[in-house]
Assembly symmetry: C2
Homo-oligomer: 317 residues x 2
């Protein structure tokens, strides 16, 4: 069994460079409404991954972004040298969920400072061995990748917006990544396939050696050269807000991969990747129990280990 | 690990009494249309369970029902003494599936001889230790149960039709059964709950000590006093017709429980029940690959073992 011991702050081998959005979110779910709470893919990813690894954040916020939150991130060992504080307002997303909580309906998106985001990697960021290209314009994802010296593992997240709107650019990005995390519906949209085996085959032929398909309350699947792995999600008594679940999942997944630091050896078999999928599911289970990252920030490594054990118990036969 | 060895024909301890429908089905799926092929819950259940156990069938067919199929059942060790051949036509169901194959739309139901079905257990049927009350009127399910002497394990299947139309009668039946298999949507309908933990708690309080929630392509969950178990479904390249998947699943499940013959000890822990859920999933995976039970009838015990191994490989971490 795996167990989480966060590496020393000076352990640069076990650091993850993460690029993505930091945002204000206004969210309506059947459990209530919240206005302008903190969110964004890089935020969820980094907090989640910070249980396992050191982080180097690349993103952009406006001058309205709360300093107190930057302190929260810094205290978790998240390097903010790559975070640009630009003149103007922070990215703002407004969305709502119906009763089944499976899909968000975007009501409005104000890109604000994010519109002119041009990520530049400062100092030792270019040496990062583990890289997460969060859900942003595929062209920006490639521009980050170009600045890297010799990454050991590059993971990508994307969504229907880019699949339908910038497919050619996304396909170029897919060619250079090792691992893709994507929702089930988006896997079908991207591949044009009608069953998950065909979809996984088609997507892996686009570039990624490993594909993780996120199935919401039904868990996740992993596809590699070594076959497939299916993990359930942990059934929960309370699910208030699924926002950020996918990025939190990716944070747990990449966090654990960096933690184990298997580098390219990760593809020799799928043992570590399978455990990483479970840690992704573990971390996501905390996020959805409350709005934003309220619950994730309160979570302890011991609680995460407890849920990992629950997954073991729930799946063994 | 488990392995299937069908008991001797004389082994009455490992026999299952199954009551349900035998039918002609006319089905449209995106893979094609079939007219008046053989089907019915008791048919799918018995063929599936016959890999593991001896069967005693209780049902009714019309004079139009093909003798050749009765020979097929008999050759699989399915006792047909309890099968009534009545004047008139066999039950006929017409249904269709959309692209996602997750739910059948019933286009017509001709009960025919089934309308006056009044199951009477012949000879040694009343001594049956394992009993499957397939998806029929809850009142008939109780009338079968009343005739039993001392069953060790009684399982029930039901559906939205009875939940909405005969809920009080169904609740009475639930009080006397040990295990319920039901679709996820129907679990919510029956319990009025909005998450699976609450639904499972409410339903288990209605009577069944064990609840199996069928989630189609997302697998199945088991709830007992010992906690929960989540199993994925096996992703398949070809899914032609999901008709009978639930009854085939129940057949694999009950078949394995009878095969292991743990009786009431089944509830001491959930080891055997977990494996039974996997065998249910294994058997269902064969059924959906072709129309009707075309593929299930061609399947060998060795192939079933192979798929059980695939489940082990697919879920381990």
């Amino acid at each position: 069994m795996a167990s989480i011991n966060k590496p020393n702050a000076t352990d640069s081998r076990r650091a993850i460079l993460a690029v993505g959005s930091l945002a204000f979110d206004s969210i309506r779910t059947p459990s209530g409404n919240v206005d302008r709470i903190l969110g964004g893919s890089a935020n969820y990813f980094s907090i989640s991954a910070s249980f396992f690894a050191n982080l180097k954040l690349v993103g952009i916020v406006g001058q309205d972004f709360p300093k107190a939150h930057l302190d929260v991130l810094a205290k978790r060992g998240i390097d903010l040298e790559g975070l640009e504080i630009a003149k103007g307002e922070t990215f703002h997303w407004v969305g709502e969920y119906g009763n089944d909580l499976s899909e968000a309906k975007t009501l409005s998106t104000c890109l604000n400072v994010f519109e002119h985001f041009n990520p530049k990697l400062p100092g030792d960021y270019v040496d990062a061995r583990y890289v997460f290209l969060g859900n942003i314009d595929p062209e920006l994802q490639r521009s980050v990748h170009k600045q890297l010296k010799k990454p050991a593992l590059v993971a990508l997240d994307s969504m229907n917006f880019w699949i339908t709107g910038k497919k050619e650019s996304l396909l170029k990005t897919l060619e250079i990544v090792d691992l893709l995390t994507i929702n089930e519906g988006e896997a079908y949209l991207l591949s044009g396939a009608h069953n998950i085996l065909d979809a996984a085959k088609a997507i892996r032929e686009m570039g990624p050696r490993a594909l993780v398909v996120k199935r919401g309350e039904y868990g996740a699947m992993l596809f590699t050269d070594h076959g497939m792995f299916a993990a359930p999600a942990l059934p929960l008594s309370t699910v208030k807000d699924p926002t950020g679940a996918g990025d939190t999942f990716a944070g747990g997944l990449m966090g654990y991969l960096a933690h184990e630091d298997a580098g390219e050896d990760i593809f020799k078999d799928d043992t570590i990747l399978r455990r990483a999928v479970i840690y992704g599911s573990v971390m996501a289970s905390f996020t959805v129990e409350d709005f934003g990252f309220t619950n994730l920030l309160k979570t302890t490594a011991k609680q995460a280990e407890g849920r990992y054990q629950q997954f073991l118990k729930m799946t063994k036969f």
